[in-house]
Every structure is written in C-alpha cells, then in structure tokens.
C-alpha cells in the first residue's frame, strides 16, 4: 500500500497544477465572455499578399461547387486569394466546428453554420456580430426578409418575421428546403396537392408496383434527419414546435395537432416505406429514388442534383429520360402549407486573424451582389436575393429550383437557441424510436416534450447538466 500512498501524494500535486491551469484558463474565458465581438462597419484594407480564405462545411456536392465557383469568380476580383472549403463528415459537422470554437482557435475563417447553430455560436462569442457591416455594405432590401433572418439573425423570430432591431451574425450562402420527388410514370404528371392525397397516391402506387415502396424520407437518428421529418409533418398538420416567448415545449409540441402529426407519420407514412429504411438519411433516399424503388420521396433540394446524373441512376440513360420519370414539386399542404427551412449562412470566425476576417467580409460583400448571386445560382447554388431567385439563371439551372422559389414564403425553422444540438438529438432519437417500433408514437412525443423542456429549464441546475 506504500505505493498507493505515493500515488496519492503525486495525485494531490498534479491536481494542484491542474487546478491552477484551469483557473488561469477560467480567467481567460471571463475576458472573452462579452458575447460576440463586432465586425468593423467598413471592410478594412485588404492584403496584397497571397492569402487562403478557409471555409468549413460538410462533405457534399455544394461544398465542391462553392470552392470551384469562388476560385473561378472571386479570383477575378482578388487574384491573390485562394478559397479552400474544408469538409467534414455530415455526422461530425457540428462537433467539428464547435470543438474548434471551444479551442478558441479555428482553422477556418468562415464557418458555414446550420441556421439553428447560430444561437450556440453567438452565445459563446464564437462568430462576429455583422450588424454594422451589413448596414453599410449589404442591400438588405434585396432579400427575402425571412431568409435574411433565418441565416443571420439572433435571437431569431420563429414566426418568420425579420426583426429590424435584432443583430445579424451571418449572411445567406445556400438556401434549401424539402422537395417532393415523385414518379410521373407511376403516379401521374400532376403531383398530389394535400398530404392525404400524397399518402393515398403512395399507397396505390405501392400496391400497383411490387418492389417499389410508396414513400422514402429521412428517418435516421443522426444529424437532424428524423427530427426534420417530424417537424415537417407537425407543421403541415398545424402543430407548433414550441412557444418561443415563454420557452414552453411541454404541452405545445405534444398538443392535439402534434399528436395527430406523429400518428400520421408513424401509422400512415411509415408503413409505406421500405423495410429497414429506419436509418435512412439523404443518401439512402437518393439511392432509393435512383434505383427506382420509391414512388414518392422527400429530400433536401441542395442534395437532389445527383438524381439527374445518368451514371448513378437506373431510371434513364440521359438527363431527359430521367426527367421524364421524375417530377419535383413543392410539399403538399394539409392544415397549413409550411415547409422546413434548410440551408446555411456564412459566419466569420471570431478567432481568425484580422487579415482573414477582413478578407471574409470582402468575400461576403462580393458574394451578395446581384450578378454574383445569379452566377452562383447558375453554378448550382441556391441564392437568397429576391432578384436572383426570380432570375432565369436560377430557375433554369435545375428542375427543383422553381420548387425552392415557390417554397420561400412557406418556410418554418426549428428552435434557434444555444441548446439546439441537444434539443435536436432528443427529437431525433425519439422520432427514430417511434418509427422503428422502439416506442409508441404517443410516448415518443411526450418524451420529446418532457426532455426538451428539461433542457430549456436546466440552466440553473447543480451538476449533471447534459444527461
């Protein structure tokens, strides 16, 4: 036991060191606490030396499109700048950005945050406050106000209204929403108009075409997959995610409309999906459509480009043949016409060097010009400016772009609060459990409401936060 005594002494000494270091760290953090630092109102003088402007995003085609587009077009303006879009696996996206924020050191200058990540980043002071910069450099009237609010404003108005007095922390990069993808050759050219019609069309199609399932949608418990699915149905059936003003979820999410939405999802929609599709996300839904195994599917517009690639599809040998079979439409309506808001904005890391922050602001100012937005649309991006959204460059770039333009006034986002990552995990796991028979729909919904409410209320708990 002599040994353990020695270990004990050693531990005490090391603990002392650890405490000291942590205490020093603590005081450092105190200084940085004053929420988000402000970006300058005017773009500071830019460097003439070679500079690499780094973004962080997750691994998907728009990331490559952005890098190619920026190096092609922004280089004309700023020949000494190279744009690099770092990508991480989708499942690791939030963790990768916020661990770097936690390190107070980022290898990226521009973070492409999911719209709901803004709250967490602002509260922790990780990204620059762009309010003054936007006022002086960006033509805010050119935007759909809700999109500007969704991708930059905090606190965010869940009702979809832009609050002119709220601060802005980002600018739109890529808009997104769900599109309904339907097989014109199986259910007809005209897309179903209501959720009920959609379900019965899928039912009929599945019965008529053995081996093809009626529906395909996101059910996975990673990222925000199952959560967005439930939120969409919840919105369409007139439910609410929360009462933002009173920070109430319990009793709001699981009210009668919420229950009905969960029932529709689990008892009407789930039986029409393929067996074993309970862990499907973007790529699996795409694969099912491309393999001709789904009558009606729902997916993010920005992720749908690959569906028209004949190399990945069994639906046709050319883009035209595929388009003869696949239709893209806005989501059916039921009690409301709400659709989920996806997409991301650009945010300047508070820990980037000042030269890179200046370059990031310059890039954003350049990027938000009318003609650049049109070119971005033509390159496969989804713009947020009203003029770019209505431009032929955008509407003709893909069959789903019209869907996006039509969906803009119908969008609803999730809770944009610092606790987002945990709220969405609670919803994901419970909806996934309900979809896969691990929980009854009613229990799942009540558990979501109860657990999410506990997260919102847990700010003054003594220990054990995050369980």
């Amino acid at each position: 036991m002599r040994h353990s005594q020695r270990i004990g002494r050693l531990s005490a000494a090391l603990l002392l060191v650890a405490t000291t270091v942590a205490a020093c760290g603590g005081s450092q953090d105190d200084d940085a606490k004053a929420s988000a630092p402000k970006a300058p109102a005017a773009i500071p003088e830019l460097t003439k030396d070679p500079l690499t402007l780094s973004f962080i995003w997750f691994e998907w085609p728009p990331a490559q499109a952005l890098e190619a587009f920026a190096n092609e077009e922004y280089k004309k303006e700023r020949p000494n700048v190279t744009v690099k879009v770092n990508t991480v696996p989708n499942a690791n996206w939030h963790d990768a950005m916020f661990t770097q924020f936690a390190a107070r050191k980022t290898d990226f200058d521009v973070a492409i945050l999911d719209s709901q990540h803004i709250g967490e980043a602002v509260t922790n002071g990780n990204i620059l406050d762009l309010t003054d910069f936007v006022k002086n450099n960006i033509d805010v009237d050119a935007y759909d106000p809700y999109l500007l609010a969704a991708y930059g404003q905090f606190p965010q108005a869940e009702t979809g209204q832009r609050d002119e007095n709220a601060s802005l922390y980002g600018l739109p990069l890529l808009g997104d929403t769900w599109t309904m993808i339907y097989r014109k050759d199986l259910i007809g050219d005209k897309p179903p108009q209501t959720w009920d019609e959609m379900i019965s069309a899928a039912e009929k199609c599945q019965a008529d075409n053995p081996g093809v399932s009626g529906l395909a949608f996101h059910q996975a418990n990673g990222s925000d997959a199952a959560a967005v699915t439930y939120n969409t149905v919840n919105g369409v059936y007139g439910g609410n995610l929360w009462d933002a003003k009173n920070r109430k979820i319990e009793g709001v999410l699981n009210d009668a409309a919420g229950q009905e939405a969960m029932d529709v999802l689990v008892t009407k929609m789930k039986p029409l999906t393929a067996k074993g599709s309970g862990n499907w996300f973007i790529d699996e839904v795409n694969a099912a459509v491309a393999q001709g195994k789904a009558c009606i599917a729902f997916n993010w517009i920005a992720a749908s480009g690959g569906l028209l690639d004949p190399k990945q599809s069994t639906l046709g040998k050319t883009r035209e043949q595929i388009l003869g079979k696949l239709g893209f439409a806005t989501l059916p309506k039921q009690k409301t016409d709400l659709v989920p808001l996806g997409g991301m904005g650009m945010h300047v890391s508070a820990y980037a060097s000042s030269a890179n922050q200046a370059e990031a602001l310059s890039f954003m100012k350049w990027f938000e010009q009318a003609d650049v937005q049109k070119k971005w649309a033509a390159a496969g991006g989804v713009p947020s400016r009203k003029d770019a959204l209505a431009s032929p460059e955008f509407l003709n770039a893909g069959p789903f772009n019209k869907v996006y333009a039509d969906s803009v006034p119908r969008m609803r986002d999730m809770w944009n609060v610092p606790e987002y990552a945990r709220l969405v995990d609670i919803e994901n796991t419970n909806v996934n459990a309900a979809l896969n028979g691990a929980k009854s729909p009613k229990d799942a919904l009540n558990d979501i409401a109860k657990d999410q409410q506990a997260v919102l209320d847990s700010s003054n708990r003594k220990g054990g936060g995050g369980l």
């Binding site: 936690a102 418990n221 067996k275 459990a433 028979g437 220990g463």
Partner: protein, 316 residues
C-alpha cells in the same frame, strides 16, 4: 494494488530474479542513473499525456465547466456524480453496455476457443489457417463498421440477399431494437474472435505432450483428457484474454458511431457513446468528465477484483 498476473508462463522466475549485486559502489550508482535516464522519458510522457489529463478531468468532474461556454468553473462537488448515478438515462445505457459486453465477449470466447481447439488438432495447414483467421482483427473499426453496415442493409445487403435465396424473409438488422444490438454483438464477435483464438491457441499448444501420452496410456476418454488436462491449463490464459476483451468492449465507441449511431432510438447507445453526446452535443464538460471518471473507476475496480480472483484460482 495487486500485482498483474504474470503472462510469461515459460521461463518462470527469470524476469523477477534480482540481478547479482554489481561489484563496485560507483557502478551501482551509474546503473541507477542509467535506469532513471532510460525510464524517465517514457514515464514523463505518460504523466503528461495520460495522468495529467485524467487528473484534470477529475478536477473538472466536480465543476459545472463547459468547454464552449467558457466562464469560470463553479464547484458543484458531487452534483455531477449523484446526477449520473441516479439518472435513468445512464442506467439504460449501462444495461445496454452490459448486455453487449456479456453477449459479445461470451460469444467470441466460445467461438474463439472452438476454432483454436479445432486448429490445434490439425497437423497440416495450421500456419495458413491461423493467419487467415486473424484478418478481421487487423482491420480498422471504421472499415469494419462501414462494411458491415453495407452487408446488413435490409434492402440490398448481401446478408438479406442470402437469407432471401434460402427462402427466408428480410430482417431489419440495424433498425429494430433487438436485432440492432444483436448486430453490434455479431460484428464485434466477427472482429475479435481471432483475438481469443490466438491466445487460446497459444495455451493449447503449450500443453506438454507427455501429459496426453500419460493419459492415453491410462486409456482415459478424450472428454476426460480435455476436461482434466487441456482446460485447466488453458483456462488462466483464456481468462486473461476475456479480461482484455471485456475492457475493450466496455469502452466501445467507434463501432456504435458508425454502425447504428445508437439507434433505433437510443437502444444501442453504449456508455461511451452517451459520454460522447454529453461531451460534444451540449458541451457539458463537467458532467462528461464525471461520467468518464466513473467509467474508469468501474474498469479499475472490476479489473482488480477479476485479477484477484484469477490469482486465487492459480493458487488453488
């Protein structure tokens, strides 16, 4: 602390035989200096990279510190610990982990020993067989997880395809509560059965031949020989292998992350996976540290008890 079970079964005593005293006083001094110079760098690295972080985690575990929110760390003392120990969520993960550890380690021990026994009875082709059986163990958990996910896919996975040609229906391997945990156990068993097999094989071949010869003169039945000669000699080594596997399985993270990401619902979330969520979704660093410390404690205490039991077994 009890001493680690000596794994060096051959040449007993040599490792611990003290050196004959060196002739001169000055020589002994340089020896000591040499020993310190040789050991210190390694120990310093371990202190800096393993012990110090652990003690830091120990300190954080008594606070409400969050790595992203910053701000000072307030002491909540045992608040995190009581919250974790009383949380139904944690109990659920502990049960899942227990089922997984017992299932996976049990299955791979049975399979690994069987394979080792069968191989040890072959006279030809053993080298090739052993090497082939070892391949799964050498693969990265990422590769193993990804590829099994592909093979277990309900729609186009090869496993269901083969079941289909046998006239059996599709099984939802990764999306049903029971089958998902079973899949996790099966995949882990696939990867780590070779480990048990290798150690069991070492034990089996170390059994002195003369014991068998003596037994065959006595016309003892094969089962009797297996039970009285083979098993008692292989048993201690096998128990060590089980210990190593159990420790590994207890901290399983990567396979869950890739194969099921804890689903359906949270039914395949292990303790390690839950720690990850606490640590990186809400950045509740204090709670996650306490959670981690508790896991380390469980490993150390159970390992000690197990080793003590092993030593006792040896003495008997």
């Amino acid at each position: 602390m009890s001493e680690p079970v000596s794994l060096t079964t051959d040449r007993p005593g040599q490792a611990d035989t003290p050196k004959p005293p060196a002739p001169g006083r000055s020589r002994r001094l340089t020896d000591r200096r040499l020993a310190v110079a040789f050991i210190a760098p390694a120990l310093l690295l371990l202190l800096a990279m393993s012990v110090f972080p652990l003690l830091w985690a120990l300190y954080l575990s008594f606070t409400d510190y969050s790595a992203t929110r910053g701000g000072p760390a307030n002491f909540v003392w045992f608040g995190n610990y009581t919250a974790i120990l009383t949380s139904a969520q944690v109990h659920l993960r502990a049960l899942t982990t227990l089922v997984y550890v017992v299932g996976a380690v049990g299955l791979q021990t049975a399979l690994g020993f069987t394979i080792a026994y069968l191989i040890s009875r072959r006279t030809r082709g053993r080298g090739l067989l052993t090497t082939l059986f070892l391949v799964p163990m050498m693969l990265s958990p990422v590769v193993v997880g990804l590829f099994w996910r592909f093979m277990l896919d309900a729609q186009f996975g090869v496993v269901n395809s083969m079941l289909g040609s046998l006239g059996l229906g599709q099984v939802e391997w990764l999306t049903r509560q029971r089958t998902a945990l079973l899949s996790l156990i099966v995949v882990d068993t696939w990867q780590w059965t070779p480990f048990i097999m290798l150690i069991a094989l070492a034990g089996l071949t170390a059994v002195p031949k003369y014991l068998y010869e003596a037994a065959s003169i006595d016309r003892a039945s094969e089962w009797f020989r297996f039970r009285t000669i083979t098993l008692p000699l292989v048993w201690p080594l096998l128990l060590i292998a089980v210990l190593f596997r159990a420790i590994e399985a207890f901290r399983l993270f990567d396979l869950v992350y890739i194969l099921t990401s804890g689903g359906p619902g949270v039914s395949t979330e292990t303790l390690s996976f839950h720690v990850y969520k606490v640590a990186f979704l809400g950045f509740n660093t204090g709670t996650a540290s306490a959670y981690g410390i508790l896991m380390v404690l469980v490993v150390i205490v159970l390992t000690q008890l197990y080793l003590r039991y092993l030593n006792k077994l040896k003495e008997d």
